[in-house]
C-alpha cells in the first residue's frame, strides 16, 4: 500500500532490532528511543559508550548499537567518570532508574555532578523499584502502595520523595539539569529536545548533564499503561515539576 513514500518516522539507527523485555506500555522504551535518536542526530553512535544500570533497564545494552558496560547497582556515574577521564575523546552516558540513582547511587551521582564530569545521565524516575518486583523507592509518592509499603508510603517513617533534579541543581559547578516526562506525546516531544541538548553539551565538552524523565511502571503500579500515564499527571507531575533547573547556557552555572 505504502510505496515510493518518504519515511518521516522510523526506528533510529542507534537502536538494535531486538524486541525489548519491557512490559507492555512501559515508557522505558520511549526513553531508549529518544536517546538513540539523539545519538543519531548528533552523529555520536560510533564514539558513544553507554553505562547500563541495575534495574529493569539492565539489558539496555542489547537494545543499542553502541558499546556498553554494565555497572553495579547505583554506580554507573562512577564507571562513567572512570571511563570518561581515561577517554575524554569519547562520549559517555549512563541510563539509570530511581532506585539505582536516587537510592543506592546517591553518593556517586552527587559527586559526579559536583566534579562536573562531562557525561550525560538519563535518569528514569518511575517512583518504584521495577525490576525487583515493586518495592518502595526514595521517589515513591506519599501514600503510594508498594510491596514494602503495603499501606502506602508513610512519610513519618520513610520521609517524602526525593527530588533529584532540585537537589543536584543546588550544586555550584556548572551543569545542565532538567526534568521532563513521557505522559503525553507533547511531553515526549519536549523531552526529546532536552535529551538531545544534554548530549550536545557533552559533544561540545561543556558540562555534566542530567535529564530526569518521569516514566511509568504499569506492572508494579498495578494499572494499565494508559492509566499509568494519567497517574503521572495526577500524582507525580505536581510534585516533580517539569522544566530546566540549571542551564550553563543561561549563565546561571
Amino acid at each position: 500500500m505504502i510505496n515510493d513514500a518518504t519515511t518521516i518516522f522510523k526506528r533510529p539507527e542507534s537502536l538494535s532490532e531486538t524486541v525489548t523485555h519491557y512490559c507492555p506500555g512501559c515508557t522505558h522504551g520511549i526513553i531508549h528511543r529518544m536517546v538513540a535518536e539523539s545519538l543519531d542526530e548528533l552523529n555520536l553512535r560510533e564514539r558513544a559508550v553507554g553505562v547500563a544500570p541495575v534495574g529493569c533497564s539492565v539489558f539496555i545494552y542489547n537494545y543499542f548499537n553502541c558499546d556498553f558496560m554494565e555497572a553495579p547497582h547505583g554506580r554507573a556515574p562512577a564507571l562513567a567518570t572512570g571511563f570518561k577521564r581515561t577517554r575524554p575523546d569519547m562520549i559517555c552516558f549512563t541510563y539509570q532508574g530511581d532506585g539505582d540513582l536516587a537510592s543506592i547511587g546517591m553518593g556517586e551521582i552527587v559527586h559526579a555532578a559536583n566534579r562536573g564530569e562531562k557525561i550525560t545521565v538519563i535518569f528514569v524516575n518511575n517512583a518504584i523499584y521495577g525490576m525487583t518486583g515493586g518495592q518502595m523507592a526514595p521517589t515513591t509518592m506519599p501514600g503510594q502502595k508498594t510491596t514494602t509499603s503495603p499501606f502506602g508510603r508513610d512519610t513519618n517513617l520513610a520521609g517524602y520523595p526525593i527530588r533529584m533534579a532540585e537537589l543536584l541543581a543546588t550544586l555550584r559547578t556548572p551543569s545542565f539539569i532538567a526534568r521532563c516526562s513521557t505522559q503525553t506525546p507533547m511531553h515526549i516531544v519536549a523531552a526529546k529536545k532536552i535529551i538531545k541538548k544534554a548530549f550536545r553539551l557533552q559533544k561540545e565538552e561543556k558540562c555534566f548533564s542530567l535529564v530526569e524523565v518521569l516514566s511509568t511502571c504499569p506492572t508494579n503500579w498495578g494499572i494499565t499503561p494508559c492509566d499509568a500515564t494519567q497517574w503521572i499527571i495526577d500524582n507525580m507531575e505536581p510534585y516533580y515539576k517539569l522544566g530546566v533547573l540549571k542551564d550553563p547556557e543561561k549563565g546561571e552555572g
Binding site: 538494535s16 553512535r45 560510533e46 564514539r47 558513544a48 559508550v49 553505562v51 547500563a52 539492565v58 545494552y61 543499542f64 548499537n65 553502541c66 558499546d67 556498553f68 558496560m69 554494565e70 555497572a71 553495579p72 554506580r75 562512577a78 564507571l79 562513567a80 567518570t81 572512570g82 571511563f83 570518561k84 577521564r85 581515561t86 577517554r87 569519547m90 553518593g107 556517586e108 552527587v110 559527586h111 566534579r115
Partner: protein, 358 residues
C-alpha cells in the same frame, strides 16, 4: 637509571608511571595517602590523570569504568578501603577486566589501627566479594620489589584480563629504600588497538562488558572460564623465594612480605648464635600459592615442622596446612594489629616450635 632513595608509597606511584599506567583513582587513607600526594602532580607531568574519588566504593567503580577503555588503570588503598571495593572487584573479575589494586595493609578488623599488618590475606587470596572469582595476588618484601611487582602486575592484569592485587604492609609503604627504575618507560596501551575494549562501535558490532548472565548455562560457563584462567596462572605465574635451604634445616618457615625480612635476620642470627638451621619459603605470588613447591620443601627428610609466621592471628597458615597435606605438623606464630615481630621474637617462635629452651 640511577638509584633513588624513595618512600615505598612514592616508588609505587613512579612504578605505575613507568608501566604506562597513567589513570589513577584513589581516596585518602593512612598509611598510603602518599601515593596520591605523589601522583597528583606527577601524573599531569606525563599526560595522565588522577581523580580523587568521593569514596572507595566509587574508586572501585571508577576503576571498572576506566578499565573498560583498555588503558592501564589502578588504585591504591588500605584495608578498610579495600573492603569497600569488594563488590566492584567481583564485577571486574566477572567482566574479565585488567586492573591493578594495591593494598597497603594496616591492622584490623574494623577501624583497627594504622600500623603494618598482614591480616587481609584471606580477603585478597580467597576473594572478599561474592561469586567464583580470584585475583592474582603479589606480595613485595622491599621497596625495590614493590616497584618490580607493580610493573609486573600491569603485565599480568593485561595478560589474563583479570584484577591483580598487590598486598604490602604499611612498612612497604612508609619505609625509604633505594630503588632503580627501568630506563625505558612504557607507552600507554593504545585503546584503538584493543580487541575487547570499548572504543566505539565504528565498523564493527557493538561490544558489551558485563557480568550478568541470566542464563545459568552461560553464567556457569563464565565462571569456569575464569577458573580456567586461574589454572593457567597456577601453571605459569607462581613465584617464590627460598632462603637458607640446606639439608641441615630442622624447620621450614613460610612467610611473605616485609615479615620475611625480619625472619631472614632471625634465621641468620639463630644459625650463627645457636647453630639452629632453619629455611624460609617466601611466596611472592600468594594466589596462585606455590603449593607444590612448599610441599616439596616440607617433605624433605630433616624438616621436623612447618611454621607459618604472619602479622595476623593466622591466615596463610590455612593454605600452608592445605598444601603440606599432613606430611609434617604445621604451626603458626605471629602478632598483629601493628606489632611487627622482631628478630628476637622470631627466634623465640622458632625455638618454641622446635621445643628448644634457651
Amino acid at each position: 637509571m640511577a638509584k633513588k632513595l624513595m618512600k615505598g608509597n612514592e616508588a609505587i606511584g613512579e612504578a605505575a608511571v613507568c608501566a604506562g599506567a597513567l589513570n589513577y583513582f584513589a581516596y585518602p587513607i593512612t598509611p598510603q595517602s602518599e601515593v596520591a600526594e605523589y601522583l597528583c602532580w606527577r601524573l599531569p607531568e606525563v599526560g595522565g590523570a588522577f581523580v580523587q574519588a568521593e569514596s572507595e566504593v566509587a574508586v572501585g567503580n571508577m576503576l571498572f569504568g576506566a578499565a573498560c577503555s583498555g588503558k592501564r588503570v589502578f588504585t591504591t588503598s588500605s584495608s578498610p578501603g579495600i573492603s569497600l571495593m569488594q563488590e566492584a572487584i567481583s564485577y571486574m573479575a566477572g567482566a574479565h577486566l585488567p586492573v591493578v589494586l594495591i593494598n597497603i595493609m594496616r591492622g584490623g578488623p574494623g577501624l583497627g589501627g594504622i600500623l603494618p599488618a598482614q591480616s587481609d590475606y584471606f580477603q585478597a587470596t580467597k576473594g572478599g566479594g561474592h561469586g567464583d572469582y580470584r585475583t592474582l595476588v603479589l606480595a613485595p618484601a622491599s621497596v625495590q620489589e614493590a616497584v618490580d611487582l607493580t610493573i609486573l602486575a600491569f603485565d599480568l592484569a593485561d595478560k589474563y584480563r583479570n584484577p591483580v592485587m598487590i598486598i604490602g604492609d604499611a612498612m612497604i609503604g612508609q619505609m625509604m629504600e633505594s630503588v632503580e627504575f627501568p630506563e625505558k618507560y612504557r607507552e600507554q596501551n593504545d585503546p584503538a588497538e584493543s580487541d575487547w575494549a570499548l572504543n566505539g562501535a565504528k565498523g564493527r558490532e557493538s561490544r558489551i562488558l558485563k557480568s550478568l548472565y541470566l542464563d545459568p548455562e552461560k553464567l556457569d560457563e563464565n565462571s569456569f572460564m575464569l577458573a580456567n584462567k586461574y589454572d593457567m596462572m597456577k601453571k605459569d605465574e607462581i613465584r617464590y623465594e627460598l632462603y637458607n635451604i640446606s639439608e641441615k634445616n630442622r624447620l621450614l618457615v613460610v612467610s611473605y612480605g616485609t615479615m620475611s625480612r625480619v625472619i631472614q635476620t632471625a634465621i641468620d642470627e639463630i644459625g650463627e648464635e645457636e647453630g639452629i638451621s632453619v629455611g624460609l619459603m617466601r611466596p611472592i605470588t600468594l594466589y596462585p600459592f606455590p603449593g607444590q613447591q612448599l610441599y616439596d620443601e616440607a617433605v624433605k627428610p630433616n624438616i621436623e615442622k612447618v611454621l607459618s609466621i604472619e602479622m595476623s592471628v593466622g591466615q596463610m597458615v590455612e593454605d600452608v596446612e592445605r598444601f603440606v597435606r599432613g606430611k609434617k605438623p604445621v604451626e603458626f606464630s605471629g602478632r598483629t594489629g601493628g606489632i611487627v615481630p622482631t628478630p628476637d621474637d622470631v627466634k623465640g617462635y622458632i625455638r618454641k616450635s622446635l621445643g628448644i629452651e634457651k
